[in-house]
């Protein structure tokens, strides 16, 4: 039994460190004198600067999914269900997860590299010694901005991918704008939209925390910065899938599906 408690796993240690890092985030979050200007600046960089990437990906995703699904539905004579099927697949699952993965790549790696480079060039130490609390300035603002911006980006992704679906439906068939959107909204309920958007808050939080944790604790010079950026993307992407799995199970248990 004793040997069981003596097992030292780097993975578990890192998980513990990330949990402690998250704990410190919540501790700092509720202290006075928050850095609102920096939070807004981060929202701009994380949200606004990711709009075009998310929109283009979502458009292609909607278009391709519709084109690929059509032959199967035609085989069963169910092509009239195409808008409904596309809407449910995109809004419930594909759109939020793909948006989160794009953000894990773009934002997670960006944070890992930026904070890592600040760490190895002693800029974070300089903030520390000037008594300005770098954790609140750099970490709290970034994690909050990612958590708030991910649902906004996922909502945009939903809308654009459904528009892509509309074009996809009309490449081989003819469905009016009005009919398409009526079918889409008929197929969707709050039980589809709310859990799907709720989980994007957790995706955003996970991406922010992992990106910041990896960058903030970066070591070993430029090589360490590269590793931080890389592992931030890998861990954040993995967490997105784990959170998604948990969210789907919870929705199922709560009867929201």
């Amino acid at each position: 039994m004793e040997s069981l408690f003596n097992i030292r796993s780097p993975f578990l240690e890192e998980l513990g460190d990330i949990a402690r890092f998250s704990g410190r985030f919540f501790k700092e979050l509720f202290k006075p004198k928050q850095e609102y200007d920096e939070f807004l600046r981060q929202c701009y960089w994380i949200g606004y600067k990711s709009l075009s990437l998310v929109a283009i990906t979502a458009f292609i995703m909607g278009l391709v999914l519709t084109i690929q699904s059509r032959p199967t539905l035609v085989e069963f004579g169910a092509q009239s269900l195409l808008p409904k099927m596309v809407a449910v697949s995109l809004v419930r699952e594909i759109s939020p997860v793909i948006t989160a993965l794009i953000c894990a790549g773009k934002i997670g790696s960006g944070m890992g590299a930026e904070l890592g480079s600040m760490r190895v060039t002693e800029q974070i130490d300089a903030m520390d010694v000037s008594g300005t609390n770098p954790f609140r300035y750099l970490i709290v603002t970034r994690v909050m901005a990612t958590t708030c911006m991910l649902p906004v980006l996922a909502s945009l992704s939903n809308a654009v991918s459904l528009f892509g679906g509309y074009l996809g439906v009309n490449i081989r068939g003819q469905v009016s704008w009005h009919l398409y959107w009526t079918q889409v909204f008929d197929a969707l309920s709050f039980g589809d939209v709310i859990p799907s958007l709720s989980k994007t808050f957790f995706f955003g939080f996970a991406i922010g925390v992992v990106g910041c944790y990896k960058g903030y604790n970066s070591r070993k010079g430029t090589e360490g910065v590269g590793r931080s950026a890389n592992s931030a993307v890998v861990i954040a992407s993995l967490l997105v899938f784990i959170i998604d799995l948990i969210a789907v199970q919870l929705s199922d248990l709560l009867g929201l599906t």
């Binding site: 600040m118 002693e122 130490d125 903030m127 520390d128 010694v129 000037s130 008594g131 300005t132 609390n133």
Partner: protein, 244 residues
């Protein structure tokens, strides 16, 4: 009677099997420029990082302005750090900010009554005037030369009017002319603001110009503690090798 602004007693610090500081003790008097001389890797930078609590010592006590640094709450430590300036060897300027933003950054948390009356702009300009670089206010750190970056880093340190300044190898990587200018600037700052300073260096010219007293850090201990001129006359081989 001299008052001590920093008092380091019996400090030990190791990194694995590398014992950097071993029972190291020293004190810094008010208004004094103290140089710490030692070979590369002898633990000079570790010592001043322990003083500001960027690194925690394994054992021993460090008192700064009558406060035991390792017992302070994070808020009290922030308050204390505002009174202690730190000039990094790498300058550590915030590379995504302009010179003005770099200098304004420490002010966001620590506005003294004097600074509030003066205003941020005036405080920034005065600090830049002190280092002779008023014209760089809207430039980015990447546009500055090595010597200019060092001066800007010093201006950022000065903006909170610290009682103590810790200089980590202030002349490393600079040409002899610029290094002399920086050394003279350290003396000018000490005279103008009556600061107490610790200067970590192995540049003998810099130590000669700036220091009132020198501590030689050898084998993790305070090997010698005397004025620059007295150390220069020493016959001890371990001291002599620094002056040859």
């Amino acid at each position: 009677m001299t008052t001590d602004v920093i008092c380091v007693e019996n400090v030990y610090k190791s990194f694995g099997d590398n014992h950097v500081l071993r029972d190291f003790s020293m004190n810094l008097h008010h208004g004094e420029n103290l140089a710490i001389l030692g070979k590369s890797g002898s633990g000079k930078s570790v010592l001043i990082k322990c003083i500001i609590n960027l690194i925690e010592p394994d054992h021993g006590t460090i008192q700064v302005l009558n406060a035991l640094v390792n017992t302070l709450s994070p808020e009290s430590l922030d308050e204390l750090r505002a009174k202690v300036g730190f000039l990094f060897q790498s300058n550590a300027l915030y590379d995504s900010m302009t010179v003005r933003e770099n200098l304004e950054f420490p002010l966001r948390r620590h506005w003294s009554k004097e600074l509030r009356e003066k205003g941020a702009e005036a405080a920034v300009m005065e600090a830049l005037d002190d280092v002779g670089l008023r014209h760089t206010v809207d430039m980015m750190p990447a546009e500055l030369s090595g010597g200019m970056r060092k001066r800007i880093a010093l201006a950022r340190t000065l903006i909170l009017r610290p009682a103590i300044i810790l200089y980590d190898e202030p002349t490393t990587g600079l040409d002899p002319v610029t290094a002399r200018e920086i050394s003279n600037l350290i003396v000018k700052v000490q005279q103008k603001y009556n600061t107490s300073s610790i200067i970590i260096s192995h540049d003998m010219n810099c130590i000669n110009i700036t220091s009132n007293r020198v501590i030689m850090l050898i084998d993790g201990k305070s090997y010698a503690n005397n004025s620059f001129d007295n150390l220069r006359k020493s016959t001890d081989t371990r001291i002599k090798e620094f002056f040859e």
